[in-house]
Point group: C2
Chain length 225, copies 2
DNA sequence: ACTACCATACTACCATACAAGTATGGTAGC
DNA sequence: GCTACCATACTTGTATGGTAGTATGGTAGT
């Protein structure tokens, strides 16, 4: 019986796309890695067509670069793009959390509470992977609750670049406790409907991401453009 | 000799994509129109492959909807999506024009001046098509001047939906004179480095877009979801 | 030793064939 | 006349062959 855990029968194309995207974001496929349609197709056990289509989709999102008749490569991290992504995210997150302070469905509020609790558990367990996902979820729930899930979706496109940079940072420094505390305070502000305070917290929260972009570029020079 | 007017040899895929996109945005292919991979391929004189790939790209941008084994259709206009697009654009345009009031390259300022002059000409000539493009250019130049062209690019993705709605409105009412006046005032504000004033003008300017979404939905019910 | 050249082995792009699912119109049975 | 069914003609998804352009390593000539 199908319990509806996956509403779509997942095409080969989507499966390949999803897996490649994840590997690129997690830096398992580091920037600059060449990707071959042929190799990938035998790896996934499908033909070149779905592989090619997934490459095109990744290219549109800027995660890979397709050079006609030469090859396809995982994109190098573009610092300018990362900063633009951060800027964009800051503007939208601020606007959304201010909205959330005005009107916010109870259901979404509950999900935020649950998310926070889960963060506590993951910090104790030092589960970085889950923590990263919970961080993402926290912000997505805010957008969801404000009826702005499409904005979240297109933002994710630029976020992909920002996230690769964040991922590099996490190798050295986790600092989840600090991020957790900020999440907690933001939730408090939303519940107290303190728009100005929430905006300020969000700005602070997101400014952490960009802190030492230049240092990273020095440390991992061949990952950057 | 190649004067470099086109840096890329334009693949068949990109040609098909660009033309379909324009026809969809200009409502020459109205919402709901079925698109056949086969028909389109003979129409453009290419095989199904590049057509299919262009369909996939349009689908990712939400301009067409692909129903596996059933067909591909030009997406209906989603009012919720239009409102999200407007909201997103407002936040980003406000932030950018405020930036522009702080620091803005002379070269971009000159392009804005030129753009304004061209608008004057087009209004006299009642050239709607050019006016629409100049309107777009005006805002793009602002993003460009602030080094935010990638943000503009991803924003265009959601803007596609907003623009179809705007296009419907233009059938009845042009009102270019008003928009021109607002553009002119915004340029003045940027030159005077009046951030607060520029933001206010921009908010006003963009709020026009959404005015009578409900009316449009009543007038063209089968274009909307 | 160094350079120019060329065969070779890649690459992505496009065309085409086949597979699998869906809508539809006609027909047999009631 | 009405309904259930099925052949058929669609649709998109996938596989594969062929083409043109590019990078590369080896070789002949200097």
């Amino acid at each position: 019986m199908d319990f509806g855990v996956r509403s779509q029968p997942v095409s080969a194309r989507d499966a390949v796309y999803a897996q490649l995207r994840e590997q690129i974001l997690k830096l398992e496929l580091p920037p600059g890695t060449p990707l071959s349609e042929n190799e990938t197709s035998v790896l996934f056990g499908v033909s070149r067509t779905p592989v090619r289509e997934s490459f095109l989709r990744l290219a549109q999102e800027g995660l890979v670069q397709v050079l006609p008749q030469r090859g396809t490569f995982v994109s190098l991290i573009d610092t300018a793009l990362v900063e633009e992504a951060r800027f964009m995210r800051e503007q939208l997150e601020r606007a959304v959390i201010r909205l959330a302070c005005g009107e916010f469905p109870q259901e979404a509020l509950t999900r935020l509470e649950m998310n926070i609790r889960q963060q506590e558990v993951c910090i104790e367990a030092q589960d970085d992977k889950s923590m990263f996902e919970l961080d993402e979820s926290f912000h997505r729930i805010l957008f969801d609750g404000c009826g702005k899930r499409n904005i979240w979706a297109v933002m994710q496109q630029m976020n992909a670049h920002l996230n690769r940079s964040r991922m590099l940072r996490l190798v050295d420094d986790h600092n989840w406790a600090h991020l957790y505390e900020q999440h907690r305070l933001m939730l408090e502000a939303v519940k107290a409907k303190d728009g100005a305070g929430a905006e300020r917290l969000m700005t602070e929260h997101l400014s952490l991401n960009i802190a030492d972009q230049a240092l990273l570029k020095e440390k991992y020079p061949n990952y950057y453009k």
